[in-house]
């Protein structure tokens, strides 16, 4: 039901590049950090919600039956059975959401600069382009890449490995 109601909207939002939100965000929030937060949020949220919905769809029906025979009420069914069951899918959604939002942040920083917005890697990249300084551009690209790899290796990979190992879905 959740998928039917929100599925097409969420898929549509996922296809829409979050950079498309930059002009609207600038009009709403001006050249402030709120613009960046908004674009990041719009970039991440479809993937996170998609992960959540996919997780709910993949919960084996037997978990529901077991929950019922164990006497779980609706709240207990959600918190003790459904949420733990969908955790791997949810983390998968978070991981994808992080990738989208990181890309969005860089794009937003390139497009919208000035005002009270801080100086970020995207701004550095844009500055390198303006000065036609290839070394600055390549350094910025490498740092952006490095941050992505480090977050993947230090945050998402260990969480996913732990989740899958404890469930017997990955050799320890």
């Amino acid at each position: 039901m959740l998928r039917q109601a929100f599925g097409p909207l969420i898929s549509g939002l996922q296809v829409l590049p979050s950079v498309a939100w930059v002009p609207a965000a600038v009009i709403w929030f001006g050249l402030t950090d709120a613009t960046v937060y908004f674009v990041i949020f719009m970039g991440a949220i479809p993937s996170v919600v998609n992960g959540l919905i996919a997780g709910v769809r993949q919960v084996p029906p037997q978990h529901h039956r077991v929950g019922r025979v164990l006497g779980a009420n609706r709240w207990q069914m959600t918190t003790r059975i459904l949420l733990p069951a969908i955790l791997p899918s949810y983390v998968g959604g978070l991981r994808q959401g992080w990738a989208f939002s990181w890309r969005s942040l860089m794009a937003a920083e390139i497009i919208a600069t000035g005002g009270s917005m801080g100086f970020g890697l995207g701004t550095l990249l844009d500055q390198g382009r303006a000065l036609a300084d290839m070394s600055v551009v390549l350094t910025a690209v490498l740092i952006i890449l490095l941050v992505g790899v480090v977050v993947e290796l230090l945050v998402f990979a260990p969480i996913e490995r732990r989740l899958l190992t404890t469930r017997g879905l990955l050799e320890s």
């Binding site: 039956r65 164990l70 469930r167």
Partner: protein, 250 residues
């Protein structure tokens, strides 16, 4: 003796499908061990689901003693993210009412007792995928017992296990039944298993399911020639029933 489960001319059919159960009537006394025997697809599992209130009858009436029934499924159906101990502790937690929440320490102690009852104390902190099929079923049995319900429903719980493990678990189950005094309704398609475990065997026909045979199994019927005679008699009846419908027992 008080009745734990009463079926009074119960019918069951699913939307637009043929009738699964028709005019099924039987009584099960408190503390009795009853085996429900029948070919695959004859409605045995549906019948158990109705006792557990997972399904509603389309006709007739079902009475289950106060406290309801615990259910043990064919596969252990343990939650893979919890250890053996945590699976049992969750069942203990869900069995508690809002007004009588026990302390975590008390639940842990009770879980330890139950794991001891099924001889799995040493494996309390293992997750389901780290246990063998037989061990998983023993955890599932401990979890079912954790609910402290007077009736225990078992849906072919040992069907997927090898013969040696199954035989060991039969003895464990009989020991636990004698210790706890629960009413057990055990579904199987194995005549040997039914005669070995049950005090009474009920035979269910196929399409629609009806009770077409009932045998009392005395202690002396479980061994030697008397056992062979009883097993042959029930098998013959089951074979006739399967032949009539062209079904199978697997």
């Amino acid at each position: 003796m008080n009745e734990a489960v009463v079926f009074d001319t119960v019918d069951k059919s699913f939307a637009e499908g043929p009738e699964v159960l028709s005019e099924v009537s039987f009584d099960i006394a408190e503390g009795e061990f009853v085996c429900l025997l029948g070919a695959s697809g004859c409605g045995k599992s549906t019948l158990l689901s109705m006792i557990a209130q997972l399904e509603r009858p389309t006709g007739g009436a079902i009475e289950v003693t106060e406290g309801g029934a615990a259910f043990m499924f064919q596969d252990a159906s343990l939650f893979p993210w919890l250890t053996a101990e945590q699976n049992i502790m969750l069942a203990l937690r869900l069995a508690e009412g809002r007004c009588q929440i026990r302390q975590r320490k008390v639940r842990r102690q009770r879980a330890a007792e139950l794991l001891d009852l099924v001889r799995l104390s040493e494996h309390a902190h293992r997750r389901p995928h780290e246990l063998s099929g037989g061990m998983r079923q023993r955890v599932a049995l401990a979890r079912a017992l954790a609910q402290e319900r007077p009736v225990l429903l078992m849906d072919e719980p040992f069907g997927a296990l090898d013969a040696i493990t199954r035989s060991l678990l039969h003895e464990e189950l009989l020991r636990i039944w004698r210790t706890t005094g629960r009413t057990i309704v055990f579904v199987t398609h194995s005549v040997d298993e039914a005669v070995h475990l049950g005090q009474r065997v009920l035979l269910l026909s196929s399409r629609p399911g009806r009770i077409i045979g009932e045998w009392e199994v005395a202690e002396e019927d479980r061994e030697g020639a008397r056992r062979a005679v009883l097993v042959d008699e029930i098998t013959e009846r089951l074979r006739n029933e399967v032949g009539r419908h062209g079904g199978d027992t697997h």
